[in-house]
Amino acid sequence: MSRKVLLIEDEPNIAEAIRFLLSREGWQVEIHGDGSDALEVIQGAQPDLVILDVMLPGKNGMDILRDLREMEELASLPVLMLTARGQSRDREMAENAGVSRFMTKPFSNAEVLTAVRDLHAQATQM
């Protein structure tokens, strides 16, 4: 069964690094670099996992997450949030918005991989 991850990230180099890492793990990686239509893209792509940046053009990652959690079919979708804004306030906001895992950039590749594996495992167990 193929696993699909949707990566919403506007920095092409970071997106490419994550794609490299996850595709080697057997993930099908789709990349989208704009916040404004991110929700529709997620709905259309129906990924198993979403990796979401916070500072996005068009629409902020936090707002996308909040809206996403209010949509019935996406409420339980695992979301790994990555942000370059390393303040504790952002973590709180993300957890309030219903994030599955929150990580600050720069991350270690191993952490990202572990997080993705954990999230996927949790999701498939349920």
Binding site: P12, R85, P106, F107
Partner: protein
């Protein structure tokens, strides 16, 4: 027949008796006993010094000569007492509240404490008073002579006896009039002695009257028949004379120095006036009751040519009633002595206070401060003044020869002293009255009185006959007894009419024309509005009420607790039975000190003065109060300034705080953005370096590609740090401008080639090179940095298919303007205001910058004295850079 020697003994005995009365009264007053000494009755009786020997003897004489006209002399004071007692009350209140010592002092005080005016009044009073004293001496002499005629063997010698009488009266006046220098100038001993004398003279006159009616005429019925038969009983009312005399006696009653002395200065309690208002007219009625019978019987009984002025004595003598004659003599003696004593006291106060003391103080000016001996000096001055006044009276008597009828001298004196009336009444009721007005009016009236009445009335050489007949300098309308050609009027009526009329007119006109000094205005207000300013002065009975008032006032100032403590302590200190202390001077002094701690000295003094009433609020007090108020005002205005300063500071602090909060938020935001901008390239670098480290079997291409990414991101980091540092330096103003001269063209050349050097999208740059031949004096590298930034922005963000950047330069009004306009879609209107802010990247493009470029440009242009702005409405993105051409000065 009573011998003269017995008479002299009786006189001496009577004087000793008076001494004893006066002495006892003084002792009682000093000991604080003898409440009756201050009774309204004593006050009323003391007013009877109005009835001098002139009235005692002269009224009968007047009746014998002119019929009922004598009544006018009693009607005047009666009218004043009955219908004008409220005016007297005002006079008394003013006198009390201003601590006035004499009528001269009153006028001086009212008109700005003018001593000139006081001296004028004093001179007038002495001039008018001297003949009057002489008159009394004459009456005593005449009465002695009646007895002496019958007993030539006695000790009596006319010349020497007058001298001894005068000397004796002077001694009496000195002893009891200047015993002490009381603040309020009250002499209980003298006043009591005068009251006794008032009873004696009334008793004597009534006794003679009763003897005449019942002893000689044989009852009321026969007496009335006799009167009807006599010429005296006919009413010959000369309207002019009657009006004049009533008016004169009324005016004199108010203005005579001795009347002022007993009525105002010696007054203990304003309310005594109420009693006197009916009791004194009653006294006058009793005094006048038997005048007509005595005159009628005297004319009947005594031979033609007998002096009617002495009927009171000669009628009983002719009937052989020696004891009654003796009593009558004592009555006349009483009238004379009481008048002389009080007049001497009143005049001496004026002379010493307004003439002697000012001169003495002037002579002392050079010798330093006035010592405590002033008290003795004042007493000495008073004593000498009394002696001088008595001596003047004595010499006047000796010189005038005692010829004129008693009544005429009295009336002349009345007319003289009445000249004070306009200034006095005006001063009490008209605030517009001025010192100049009073002086001019007084002088006019005084001169006219001398010219029309005093001089013509005196016998002999006092005035040349030619002046009397033809007028001064031969001008007929200046004739003393027919001024302005108005003839046929009684000389007395004529003089009084003209002198008082012109006096009043002069007073009013001069008052209206002159300006009162501030002190005059203040005093004028104090006098005219005396009932608004002062509390009715109380006698002894009011002392507890005073303490209560003081208590209430103190509570208001110090608070209830401390005030009660203070009063209780004071009451205990006095050992009194009451819970309130007596208002003794010591207590008042301590209270004043206590209060002045809270409200200031002058205010405390004034407040206590208001309640205790005895001490007036002096001008100095008022000025001091005004001074304190001014200080308070200034203090409060200083406070106001301080408080406005404080509120300004508070506002500034609030603003600063808001600014700091804003700055802090901006700083948070900035740090957060810096963090983001730093972490983003670092994320790529870390991710790819881990990939390269951990991944086996990376292809050569992959390795190159990832290493390039790492390299580019590292460069991006470096650029970002450079920009941040640059911005920080620019913002802190630590930048050193490296000024140089070059043409705009070459600066643009370098910027274009530098911006387009790297790999990037192609953009064609269009320039009007001819217009760029402008020489700039500025930091050429910094300006180039701005140009490079704008060109690379166009290169990065211009979204046209064939991007074109047009650079045009103008030279407008001393400024060079360079526009950078591309053919892209431009910056959306909502974002235009943001483009120059830090990290304000428009849109989502990742064209490399961290969003600091335009912020740096703005800072640079500010340093260069120019500006950079977005130009809307140019089709594409359009930026305008402008800077002054003559930037040489500004850059330094």
């Amino acid at each position: 027949m009573t011998t003269v020697n017995v008479l002299i003994l009786v006189c001496l005995g009577y004087v000793v008796f008076l001494f004893a009365v006066a002495f006892a009264a003084d002792r009682m007053a000093a000991a604080g006993r003898g409440k009756w000494l201050r009774s309204p009755l004593i006050y009323t009786l003391s007013l009877s010094i109005y009835c001098t020997a002139w009235t005692f003897y002269g009224a009968v004489g007047n009746a014998a000569r002119s019929g009922l006209e004598f009544v006018t002399i009693y009607l005047g004071p009666t009218l004043v007492m009955v219908s004008w007692w409220w005016g007297l009350r005002k006079l008394v209140r003013v006198g009390r509240s201003q601590r006035v010592t004499s009528i001269a002092d009153l006028l001086s005080s009212r008109y700005g404490k003018s001593n000139t005016l006081a001296v004028c009044v004093t001179i007038l009073a002495v001039l008018g008073g001297t003949p009057y004293i002489a008159l009394q001496l004459q009456s005593i002499t005449l009465s002695f002579s009646i007895f002496a005629e019958a007993d030539p063997s006695g000790l009596y010698r006319e010349g020497s006896s007058v001298f001894w009488v005068a000397a004796g009266l002077a001694v009496f006046a000195i002893l009891f009039g200047t015993r002490n220098l009381d603040v309020n100038e009250r002499h209980h001993g003298v006043v009591t002695a005068i009251a006794v004398e008032a009873i004696v003279k009334l008793f004597a006159l009534i006794a003679v009257g009763v003897f005449v009616v019942w002893g000689i005429a044989g009852g009321i019925g026969p007496m009335m028949e006799r009167i009807d038969a006599s010429e005296i009983g006919q009413w010959h009312v000369d309207a002019g004379r009657w009006t004049t005399f009533i008016f004169l006696s009324a005016a004199a009653f108010i203005c005579l120095p001795r009347m002022f002395q007993v009525m105002v200065v010696e007054n203990d309690d304003e309310s005594h006036l109420r009693t006197a208002a009916w009791a004194f007219p009653l006294y006058l009625l009793l005094m006048s009751l038997f005048v007509v019978p005595i005159a009628v019987v005297g004319l009947d009984l005594l031979p033609e040519g007998a002096n009617p002025d002495l009927f009171v004595l000669t009628v009983p003598l002719s009937q052989g009633n020696d004891w009654l004659a003796m009593l009558s003599f004592i009555g006349g003696f009483s009238s004379a002595t009481s008048m002389v004593i009080v007049t001497a006291m009143a005049l001496s106060t004026m002379v010493s206070n307004h003439v002697v003391m000012p001169i003495w103080l002037n002579t002392q000016e050079g010798t330093g401060s006035v010592s405590g001996d002033v008290r003795n000096i004042v007493l000495m001055a008073r004593r000498v003044s009394i002696a001088v006044v008595m001596a003047l009276g004595f010499f006047y008597y000796r010189l005038s020869g005692g010829g004129a009828a008693l009544a005429s001298i009295g009336l002349i004196a009345f007319a003289g002293i009445s000249q004070i009336l306009p200034a006095l009444v005006g001063g009490l009721f008209w605030r517009g009255a001025t010192r100049t007005g009073a002086l001019v009016g007084l002088t006019v009236g005084f001169v006219l009185w001398i010219y029309t009445l005093l001089l013509p009335g005196m016998s002999g050489a006092s005035m040349p006959e030619s002046v009397l007949q033809n007028g001064l300098f031969g001008i007929s309308w200046l004739r003393p007894q027919a001024l302005f050609g108005i003839e046929g009027i009684d000389p007395m009526v004529h003089s009084v009419m003209w002198s008082l009329l012109l006096n009043t007119i002069a007073f009013c006109v001069a008052s209206l024309l002159s300006f009162p000094s501030p002190l005059e205005r203040l005093q004028g207000a104090q006098f005219v509005n005396v009932f608004d300013h002062s509390v009715a002065p109380r006698g002894w009975s009011g002392s507890v009420a005073q303490s209560e008032d003081l208590m209430i006032m103190t509570q208001r100032i110090l608070g209830t607790g401390p005030a009660q403590e203070f009063f209780q302590a004071e009451a205990e200190k006095q050992g009194g039975r009451s819970h309130l202390p007596e208002p003794t001077p010591a207590f008042l002094g301590r209270l004043e000190r206590e209060l002045s701690g809270s409200v200031g000295t002058a205010t405390a003094h004034a407040m206590i003065g208001q309640i205790v009433g005895g001490s007036s609020v002096s001008v100095e007090d008022l000025l001091a109060v005004a001074d304190e108020s001014a200080q308070l005002l200034e203090y409060s205005s200083q406070l106001e300034v301080k408080s406005s300063e404080l509120s300004r500071t508070a506002r500034q602090l609030r603003e600063a705080n808001a600014k700091l909060t804003q700055v802090s938020a901006q700083k948070d935001n900035f740090l957060s953005q810096v963090s983001h901008e730093l972490r983003t390239p670092m994320t790529s670098i870390r991710a790819f370096s881990e990939i390269m480290r951990d991944t086996e079997g990376l292809s050569r291409d992959e390795q190159t590609r990832y290493a390039t990414i790492i390299h580019d991101e590292a460069l991006r980091l470096t650029r970002l740090l450079d920009d941040l540092l640059d911005l920080s330096v620019l913002e802190n103003g630590q930048v050193n401008l490296n000024l140089g001269d070059d043409s705009l063209r070459s600066v643009l050349d370098r910027a274009v080639s530098s911006a387009l050097a790297g790999a990037g999208r192609k953009i064609s740059v269009r320039r009007a090179r001819a217009a760029e031949r402008i020489v700039l004096h500025t930091d050429l590298d910094r300006l180039g940095q701005v140009f490079i930034n704008l060109i690379s922005n166009a290169q990065k963000y211009c979204d046209a298919d064939e991007p074109v950047l047009t650079i045009s330069a103008y030279d407008v009004g001393g400024r060079v303007i360079i526009d950078f306009i591309d053919n892209g879609s431009g910056i959306p209107p909502g974002a235009r205001s943001m483009v120059f802010e830090k990290f304000a990247r428009v849109g989502g493009d990742k064209a490399g910058g961290a969003g600091l470029g335009l912020a740096i440009c703005r800072e640079i242009m500010q340093r260069l004295g120019g500006e950079i702005s977005y130009l809307p409405g140019q089709g594409g993105a359009a930026f305008r850079v402008s800077l002054p051409l003559a930037h040489r000065q500004a850059a330094q």
